[in-house]
């Protein structure tokens, strides 16, 4: 495996290897000295063409804990604003001799494009409305930590699935592991995912019944007024998660959110801060999963 461009491209075995390795890295993160020399001498460039604080911070910390040299390259300071093509940008970066390129880009498929054109390992940190594979891996890791496995779980994904790369990667991953996926949201924001064993609910109360896991998605404010939904108020009323709705799910259901949250729009504060929410644990697990991915890609084994 040279690159991680998407969950779609991974086999179940590969995903299991990543999750198992992440579990070892989670142990490392519990130690006093959280840094290991595993990737000493390797260079990583974080190439972020879209603003991001969480994902970039998480990758950067993961990289540092693996002892890599980290180079951050973000749009406002780059030559991209001077009109350089992505191809030329990556060729320039490759000339520095980097081993990993972590990329976030607003164009779906940009990581695939780069992966085809460089020798370095490419890790997709979110491309357009396509995929955000490390988020799905950390979500799966977090669910397994709480529930033991993914098989047979009722997992509700709620919100703007159409524009959510997090939702897409989760759908691909969960469907490979036999979870019952329910997509909940307004019809304007639910794409045709019928090939991935999903059930669609426009009625949130119905979709939450007996759910083991509720994954809330961030609603992007700019979607309102573009005809996807009329107002955030109407949205919250129909597809927001509050305490009353949370009670429709199983008693021990967990609530997840990739962050950053819009409190009062897709999730109420009491739910976000409740004992059922594992939102902060997701952040910790993100580190372990990203360390695992980088470590495994550096091995580039041929037998997986």
């Amino acid at each position: 495996m040279k690159d991680l461009v998407g969950i779609k491209e991974l086999s179940r075995n590969e995903i299991e290897l990543i999750l198992n390795t992440a579990s070892s890295f989670k142990d490392v993160l519990r130690r006093d000295i959280k840094k290991v020399p595993a990737l000493r001498g390797k260079t990583v460039v974080n190439l972020f063409f879209e603003p991001s604080t969480r994902t970039r911070t998480s990758f950067e910390l993961a990289e540092k804990r693996l002892s890599t040299d980290v180079l951050n390259f973000s749009v406002p300071t780059s030559s991209v604003v001077k009109g350089e093509s992505l191809f030329d940008t990556i060729k320039t970066i490759e000339a520095y001799g980097v081993d990993f390129i972590v990329i976030r880009h607003s164009s779906s498929g940009a990581p695939h494009f780069i992966a085809r054109n460089v020798i370095a390992s490419v890790i997709n940190a979110g491309d357009g409305i396509n995929e955000h594979p490390t988020q799905a891996l950390l979500d799966a890791f977090s669910i397994i930590e709480k529930k033991g496995s993914l098989e047979g779980l009722n997992i509700a994904i709620v919100g703007d699935i159409l524009h959510s790369r997090v939702a897409k990667s989760n759908i691909y991953l969960l469907s490979k592991f036999g979870a019952n996926i329910r997509l909940i949201g307004p019809p304007t924001l639910i794409p045709d995912m019928a090939d991935h064993n999903v059930e669609v609910f426009y009625e949130m109360d119905e979709g939450l019944k007996d759910a083991d896991v509720i994954m809330m998605l961030r609603i992007q404010m700019e979607r309102q007024g573009k005809g996807f939904f009329p107002s955030t108020m109407e949205y919250f009323k129909n597809w927001g998660l509050d305490m009353r709705r949370l009670k429709l799910a199983k008693k021990d259901a967990i609530v997840m959110h990739p962050g950053p949250m819009n409190r009062g729009i897709e999730i109420s504060s009491d739910v976000a801060d409740s004992g059922q929410s594992i939102i902060l644990e997701q952040v910790t697990n993100g580190l372990a999963v990203r360390m695992a991915v980088m470590y495994l890609l550096s091995g580039r084994g041929e037998n997986v």
Binding site: V28, V36, G301
Partner: protein, 177 residues
Amino acid sequence: MVMAKELLNKKDMERIISRIAHEIIEKNKGTENLCVVGIQRGGVHLAKRLANRIKDIENVDIAVGSLDISLYRDDIGIRKEQPVVRKTEIPCDITDKKIVLVDDVLFTGRSIRAAMDALMDFGRPAQIQLAVLIDRGHKELPIRADYVGKNIPTSMSESIEVQLEEEGLEDRVLLQT
């Protein structure tokens, strides 16, 4: 064609474990502050056997840990196979402890170097000693074992296979040429 020659059998291995257990107790004048740590994978089972044998002799429980050295190796990127990170369990605070590292085969010494680095990240042990079942020579680093089961001079093209009951095999050591 690969030829396998049996170097040690079950009985031989039992005797070796027994002798090394005695040597450890003798050298350390008892079992105080002692902790046995096996290197994944082969060393882990041997560490447990040693601890059990020490208990038979001295009637004290000593801490046994396992150590995965993948993250400390110096050959990432030149290995062909996908790295697998196994469990690391250090059962106690190792600072000021006498650690006996246990491995099945001592070869280049690079694994031991990695194991010492890994161990250091958990604390500052008073001493690190090394016990190995087989010392096959060809060291590339200035590392030697404190306790050796059997010295077996080998050529680079040969390989040593340690088979253990814990892995579902018969206890024995094979030399493959």
